[in-house]
Symmetry: C2
Subunit: 150 residues, 2 copies
């Protein structure tokens, strides 16, 4: 099993796993990596995103996002309000508590990213990230093609 694509995906999988556990070590108790991702997403793009939009942004099933959002809401880090224009839909907003927690978490995580930056010059990842983006886009398109074929 020395197929180069297989090896490539294997490395990807392990890095994803290692970086996720690295991140979770720094997060406040009970806040998971997916939750942190959503907090960042809302901070960058602003409130009012729907659960479905957020699920798509993270390439995750909508039922997974339901679960993540429930955890965030239970902890008072986000707020969900019904959309007055469409009874099926909701909007998600960061609470003050959520914004504050995000800021603090970023400070906690910074040293790890710094360690990575010291070990690998910025150009190192800058060269490969665009390639990863292309592959990611391709996989994403392939999945959609498959779904619509069913």
């Amino acid at each position: 099993m020395k197929n180069p694509y297989f090896s490539f995906l294997t490395e990807i999988g392990i890095i994803a796993q290692l970086s996720r556990t690295m991140l979770e070590k720094r997060l406040p108790d009970g806040v998971s990596a997916p939750m942190f991702g959503v907090l960042n997403h809302l901070a960058r793009l602003g409130g009012g995103q729907t659960p479905l939009q957020i699920a798509r942004a993270f390439q995750v099933a909508k039922s997974s996002m339901t679960n993540t959002l429930a955890g965030l809401e239970r902890r008072g880090l986000i707020e969900m309000r019904p959309n007055p224009k469409d009874g099926r839909s909701k909007g998600v907003w960061l609470t003050d508590k959520g914004a504050t927690l995000r800021e603090a978490a970023i400070q906690q995580v910074a040293p790890d990213l710094k360690g990575l930056a010291e070990a690998f010059p910025a150009g190192y990842v800058d060269e490969i990230t665009p390639r990863l983006s292309e592959i990611r886009a391709w996989l994403d398109a392939a999945r959609d093609a498959d779904n619509s074929a069913e």
Copy 2:
């Protein structure tokens, strides 16, 4: 949040997720990506590996591997035997059923890898895989350093 390392890890995470669901679509019902990984590992390295060795090879907590192995054993795809030399330890072996299922699964997955190969020339991933390996190795070492410091 345009930190290049952050972007890099984000792409990694999404590719890992997409490739995992792509793989699981092709696997027989009830066989998950981690299970398939273990079957391959045993086929490549041979039987007799301990659960701990396998967990380390996949960079996964040993309790996660206990779980994966239990699923494989329940389906009759592997066999676990006590180590006569050390009562704490076990060895894991592929069963005939497991080996057969692995072969079939590889055939099922092949078309997807082929699609990837057609979209991206082999040299494309060959250039980045070694870099990913370096980063993976670094993250792995960083995690161990952190663990022993506790």
